[in-house]
Each structure stands twice: as structure tokens, then as C-alpha cells.
């Protein structure tokens, strides 16, 4: 946690400048080659972007949630692929270790995650277990000092390059749903661990996902996160609470960029002898976008501050994820509309962003799952 506004201001300025001078100029190449160039990856590592949220004692910056979302507002004004590369180390890939890992596990992995030497992936989703995550089937069977993992994980972000995986697997087939699930660290290269082909996605090219397959994959029992079976699902849900707020902040950043692009275009593009920004119907699109964007930004900052104060923000995190991702989709749609025909052409960044941001309404809990969670929280609070 930095707290001191002067130091944090310098940090945010520096990230914003890096985005403008180093990331945005590479966006088109990343989209065309489906690869973030190694030079840019190295710069991202050197800058310290992989360790934003990892505690200082393990080599990270130890940003508070509020600081993290403010950095994301800046960082995510560049293609979401860049955020995706650093997202797992700062979020779902490392959080289980930070929340529930033993000191030895933290010492072993967190410093290398903070430096970006290792990439971490979070393997929860399965072919048959998406929104219904508690129904996951991947099994972990204890054999002496080892666990043997069997099963398949799907759409795993950064898996093709990951050095370690946080894997959710069922240790007790008899226990009811969530109670039988445990979390493990599995290192890449462990015999029995293999990867599927990279998924061909609608957008976010340069960010890679694939299947992760466990076939009699033996891992040391010491790799059970927290050293206790049956607590994995609870840990995963805590990871996702933070992850949802993280994604909501990502949506705010992306929407800011899209609105900025749309505004610039509206001021440059002339029809009927004037910039189209002078037309009230265009102004309505801009104004509605800005209003929703501001609302989402305030929500995310409020929820982040509450989390930093130690409040349980499960409900608020779902509200933020639902509103910010849907807002982002609407802003993308309006921004394409303002661009007119040009918005449908790949030469303009908005065509790419329109596809990229579609994912935000789906992953880390679909909009519909967020609606259910919010309603369940409300009902539980009322009837408790």
C-alpha cells in the first residue's frame, strides 16, 4: 500500500505514459500476430507490472485494492491483451496463494510471480463446469505424499506460457459439491500435465487461452494450498470477489479509451459542413457513455475502498462487475456507431475493442450469474 498521494500520483503518471508511448503503438501488431513482442514483455516486467498486487515482502508493490483499480483505469486504455498478460499474476493466478498459501509456498512462488519470471494461471473452469463451478469433476486422489490429478480445465488464461497453475480439484468425491474441492499449485512441466491447442478467440488477440489436461499428474502433497483439504472452493470464491472488482476496473479503463477515440473521431469527422460532434444525436451518444462510465468508475472506487477497510464486498463486487461490463459493452456499441462505416473497418481501433470487450460480460462470472448472486445476497441479508 502506498497511500502517499505524491508517490502514487507519480506511479499512475508513469503507467499512463507507458500506455501511451509503448503499449498503444504496439496494439495493431499484437492483434495481427496474436503475440505481444518480447521487447514489450520485457519492458512490462522491468516496469514492475507483474507484481502490482503482490505484497512488498515478496518483491511486489503491495498495492491496495483502491490503488490497483486506479492503475487499471490507466493500463486498460491500451488493448486488453496487455492487461491479460499481467492480470493473472496480479489476480486470480496469485491470489489463492496470497490468501491461503503457507509461508513456504509464498516464498517459493510469489517473488518470481512479482518479477514476471513466472506466469501464473487459474484453472477452475471445465468443459462441463462453467457458471456451475462447484460441479467440477477434476479429481485429486491422495497417494502417500502425493496427489494424483485427473481431468480437463478449459479456457485457461495464460496457460500456454504459465509456469504454475492454481488448480481446483475434487479431493472428496463423497462430500457435497463445494465442500469436496481443494486448491493446488501445479508446476508446468510436471509429467501428466499437458496443454491443448491455443483457443481461436473472437477478440483479445495476443492474450492466450487453452485447455489444461491432467492425466495421472502426480504432484507433491505439499502443493495443497493452505495444507487443508476441502477449503479450495471457498478460497476460489474469495479470489473471484477480488477478480470481479479487478475486471470491473478493466471495463472502466477500456470504456474510457473507447469514448476518447469516439470523441476524437466526432470532432474530426465532418458532415454537412460541420464536425459530427456538433449534432445533438451524436452528443447524446457521447453524454450517455460518459455518464455511465462515471457511474461505473465511482462504483468500482467505492467497492475498492470498502474492501481495503476490511468489509465483505461480495455483493458490491458483483454489482460492479455486472454494471461495468454491461456499460463497457454499451459504450463499445455507441463508439462504433459514432465512427459509422469506419467503425466496422479494422483500420480503426474501435473495431478491435468492440470485439475485445465482449468477453467482459462473460468471464469471471457472466452478467446473469452476477444478477443471481446479487439477488441471493439481498434475500439472505433480509431473511437472516
Amino acid at each position: 500500500m502506498i497511500k502517499d498521494p505524491q508517490t502514487f500520483g507519480l506511479l499512475v503518471d508513469n503507467v499512463s505514459r507507458f500506455v501511451r508511448e509503448r503499449l498503444i503503438p504496439h496494439e495493431q501488431t499484437v492483434a495481427e500476430t496474436d503475440e505481444i513482442p518480447e521487447t514489450v514483455r520485457r519492458e512490462m516486467r522491468e516496469l514492475g507490472l507483474f507484481g502490482l498486487t503482490i505484497p512488498e515482502e515478496y518483491g511486489g508493490l503491495g498495492l491496495s485494492m483502491e490503488e490497483e483499480v486506479r492503475v487499471l483505469f490507466e493500463l486498460c486504455q491500451a488493448s486488453p491483451a496487455f492487461r491479460s498478460l499481467i492480470g493473472t499474476n496480479n489476480g486470480i493466478g496469485s491470489q489463492a496463494l496470497i490468501i491461503a498459501g503457507s509461508e513456504e509456498q509464498k516464498q517459493r512462488y510469489l517473488p518470481r510471480l512479482a518479477s514476471g519470471e513466472l506466469l501464473a494461471s487459474f484453472a477452475l473452469t471445465e468443459p462441463e463446469a462453467g457458471s456451475d463451478a462447484a460441479s467440477l469433476r477434476t479429481s485429486a486422489t491422495r497417494e502417500g505424499n502425493f496427489y494424483v490429478l485427473n481431468g480437463t480445465k478449459r479456457f485457461i488464461t495464460n496457460a500456454p506460457e504459465a509456469g504454475i497453475f492454481t488448480v481446483l480439484a475434487r479431493t472428496d468425491p463423497e462430500a457435497k459439491r463445494a465442500a469436496g474441492i481443494s486448491a493446488f499449485i501445479v508446476e508446468a512441466g510436471t509429467p501428466g500435465l499437458s496443454l491443448g491447442r491455443n483457443d481461436k478467440k473472437m477478440g483479445q488477440h495476443g492474450a492466450h487461452t487453452c485447455d489444461v489436461i491432467f492425466d495421472a499428474c502426480r504432484i507433491p502433497a505439499a502443493n495443497l494450498i493452505g495444507g487443508q483439504e476441502g477449503t479450495g472452493f471457498k478460497t476460489a470464491m474469495r479470489v473471484l470477489d477480488k477478480g470481479r472488482l479487478h475486471i470491473a476496473a478493466v471495463c472502466v479503463g477500456a470504456a474510457q479509451r473507447m469514448l476518447q477515440d469516439a470523441l476524437r473521431y466526432a470532432l474530426e469527422r465532418r458532415q454537412f459542413d460541420q464536425p459530427i460532434a456538433e449534432f445533438q444525436l451524436i452528443q447524446a451518444l457521447l453524454a450517455d457513455s460518459k455518464t455511465e462510465l462515471y457511474a461505473a468508475r465511482c462504483m468500482v472506487q467505492d467497492a475498492a475502498q470498502r474492501r481495503d477497510r476490511g468489509e465483505d464486498i461480495s455483493l458490491e463486487a458483483s454489482c460492479c462487475k455486472l454494471f461495468a461490463s454491461e456499460m463497457c459493452g454499451r459504450v463499445a456499441d455507441r463508439a462504433v456507431q459514432i465512427h459509422g462505416g469506419a467503425g466496422y473497418i479494422a483500420a480503426y481501433a474501435i473495431e478491435r475493442f468492440y470485439r475485445d470487450v465482449r468477453l467482459f460480460r462473460i468471464y469471471e462470472g457472466t452478467s446473469q450469474i452476477q444478477q443471481l448472486l446479487i439477488a441471493r445476497h439481498l434475500i439472505r441479508r433480509q431473511t437472516a
Binding site: 508517490t7 507519480l10 514492475g48
Partner: protein, 249 residues
């Protein structure tokens, strides 16, 4: 050897500055401020000299309002060892800055003073030259290459006619141009470490310097908007227009 680097807080280079409507100055209320880009090059050069083992300490100096501490912190995050702010709420013109720098040089005894060749706010391009004159030191201005030897500094200067190589006797004052190097992005952990580096704040009075302005700016206005050009059908028309309308040939 100790190096003194001067860093100025200016309007960020991405900001489009407008004149105030009453002509009393530039409207810079609530705009983003940053380190002068030429000064970033100077800091980067000092850090590279230190990394190469040719410099033992880098002192970053800024002058102006309290917020100039941000600029010094940026220099500290880039690799400077400590900072000095000469704090003043009144306008500091080039000669006042040069005199204050001379007082600091007398106090700190550096072997080299590095400055940006000019600041992007007033583009004066005066401070380094004035400082060298006040100190009676050799000066190398607008340099694009610097090599430190035994008691000598060899510089390549970007002059109107091309490139000029000079050998300067140390200690010396050097003002840098943009081609000298490409400043690094500050590593985020270094920003946090910079918070712990020493930053001294002193007043001009303590240095015994009279900083009252010598120049009066009477009016600020924006340059006239460029008129749209015209297309001419052929070379003969072009020559005719240059000769008879524009009267430039």
C-alpha cells in the same frame, strides 16, 4: 565525481497550452505538469554515467513552487541520489535560476552540471550559458554525445551547420539535446524507493541571491491561425505567385 542535474517542472508536452483571454499569461491552471523532456535526457545521462562508474553521486535540483518536489522525485526514481528544491512562489527568470545554480555549485562542488538545453514552456535556452559565464567554466551546449576522460569532457554539439566536436576542461556545464539518449521508463518499485531518498528544501534568501525579475512580459497572445493553402496548376504559376504575391523570390 559529483554531478548536479537541473530539472524544471513544466506543462506536460501533451497539453495544448492556450493564452489567457486577458493576455496576462498562459492559462496553465489545472493542467498536467511534468519534467521538462530535455531535463529527462540530462537525468538519464547522469544515471548512465553513474552506472558506468564514472560518477559517484547525482544531485537533482529544481526551483519554483513546492510542487516541484514531484519533478525531483521523478529524478530520484530514475536514479538520482538526493534532491534540492529552491522553493519560491515568485517567477524565476533564467538569470535568477543561473545565479541560484551558481550558489548551489559553490556549495556542492560538482565536477559536472547537466541541464536540458531549454525548457519547453518559455524555450529561453539561456540558463546553461549564463551559469557557465557566472562560474567561469567551460560550456558545451546542445550536445548529442558525451564522453568523460581524464580532466576532460569530449562532446558532440548539434549546431546549425552540422555536428561539432569539442574538448572541454572539467569542471564544466553541459546542456543536452534530445538525441543524446532515450530516457528510461521509471520502474514502479523505484518510485516507492525514491520516497525514502533525501530531499532538501531551501529558500533563495538562504543562498544570498536576489531573484527579482528583470524582464516584464507585456502581452501573451496565440499565434494567428494558419490559413488554408491553395493548389496551383503548374510550376510557372507557382514561381509567379512566389515572386509577385508572396514576394519571397
Amino acid at each position: 565525481m559529483k554531478v548536479l542535474v537541473a530539472v524544471k517542472r513544466v506543462v506536460d508536452y501533451n497539453v495544448n497550452v492556450r493564452a489567457k483571454t486577458d493576455g496576462t499569461g498562459a492559462d496553465i491552471a489545472n493542467v498536467k505538469m511534468s519534467m521538462n523532456p530535455f531535463d529527462e535526457v540530462a537525468v538519464e545521462e547522469a544515471v548512465r554515467l553513474k552506472e558506468a562508474g564514472k560518477v559517484s553521486e547525482i544531485v537533482a535540483v529544481s526551483m519554483g513552487v513546492s510542487a516541484c518536489q514531484d519533478t525531483i522525485r521523478t529524478a530520484l526514481a530514475m536514479g538520482a541520489d538526493r534532491g534540492i528544491l529552491v522553493e519560491s512562489d515568485t517567477e524565476l527568470q533564467s538569470l535568477a535560476v543561473a545565479k541560484l545554480l551558481k550558489a548551489l555549485v559553490d556549495k556542492e562542488a560538482p565536477g559536472l552540471v547537466l541541464l536540458g538545453k531549454q525548457a519547453i514552456d518559455d524555450d529561453s535556452n539561456q540558463t546553461a550559458q549564463m551559469l557557465a559565464a557566472l562560474l567561469g567554466w567551460a560550456q558545451g551546449t546542445f550536445i548529442s554525445k558525451l564522453e568523460l576522460g581524464d580532466g576532460k569532457a569530449t562532446v558532440i554539439r548539434e549546431v546549425d551547420g552540422g555536428l561539432e566536436t569539442d574538448s572541454l576542461t572539467m569542471p564544466t556545464v553541459i546542456s543536452v539535446d534530445l538525441r543524446l539518449n532515450e530516457p528510461r521508463f521509471v520502474k514502479l518499485p523505484n518510485i516507492m524507493k525514491a520516497k525514502k531518498k533525501p530531499l532538501e528544501v531551501i529558500k533563495p534568501d538562504a543562498l544570498g541571491v536576489d531573484t527579482s525579475p528583470r524582464l516584464v512580459y507585456s502581452n501573451y497572445r496565440e499565434p494567428p491561425a494558419r490559413k488554408a493553402g491553395i493548389k496551383v496548376p503548374d510550376v510557372a504559376t507557382l514561381v509567379d505567385k512566389l515572386k509577385n504575391e508572396a514576394k519571397v523570390i
